[in-house]
Amino acid sequence: MVDEIIKEKKVLSLMLFSGPYGSQDADHMCRIAEKALEKGYGVEIFLYGDGVHAQMKDQAPKMFYNVGEALVRIAEKGGVIKSCVRCSTARGYVNNEFDETSDRYPSDKAMDAVKIYSLYGFISMIKSSDKLLTFGSA
């Protein structure tokens, strides 16, 4: 997984605040993120509030757009995906203290494609992105 965003590329940041499947917010976010990657832009995603549930492993919706698989695709194509540690801890995702080697808070339940991280992960996206979109928060 590519962790560094090349500085010359324009970067789109996207924040998700609502859980997957309860609304289309996650769908819209993922589709727009994939489109941006297709067009050669950098993509950074931050999962916040109930949005952290999008990091859950083994999502298997019978008939809905699979958000988990979309995030895996996004990460494979170079998107950086982080999620809020405070929100993740509240919801039972975090096992342990921050791990310097893997640069994340460890989790047995979250997909590898998503790094559980401090809120400052989002704060720096606010600054470094060319454009910022939010989904499910308003």
Partner: protein
């Protein structure tokens, strides 16, 4: 310096949105960003002072403390007059240094200070 507008439209306590927005505001201020918080719609309830021990009463942190932190860090907090009026909130109920503004002026703030806009 990046200019961020954080707009909060949900009431404090009943939803996570207010905490989420205020945390983003104070974390952004700690990084030296220019931050404007706009309270509109049900978000105006967060502008009221005098919360009585929310942690003891309902097991939630006081949003009033977070608002005061933001003001102390030189964040700007603006509240929409029309939303206040609809909800029967008078200016004397507000936390000090919150600015009451009309909707059109708030739109100007968003257009002028919202390089990045996060709506909660």
């Amino acid at each position: 310096m990046v200019k961020v507008v954080i707009e909060i439209s949900h009431p404090p306590f009943g939803y996570e949105h207010t905490f989420a927005g205020l945390y983003v505001a104070s974390a952004s201020l700690s990084k030296g960003y220019d931050v404007t918080v706009i309270l509109r719609s049900d978000g105006v309830y967060t502008g009221r002072k005098g919360q009585i021990e929310p942690m003891k009463n309902i097991n939630l942190p006081a949003t009033e403390d977070l608002v005061e932190d933001i003001i102390e860090l030189d964040g700007r907090i603006i509240i929409e007059r029309s939303s206040m009026e609809m909800r029967g909130i008078n200016e004397d109920e507000l936390i000090d240094e919150i600015e009451v503004m009309d909707t059109q002026d708030i739109h100007d703030i968003i257009l002028d200070y919202g390089e990045k806009v996060v709506a909660f």
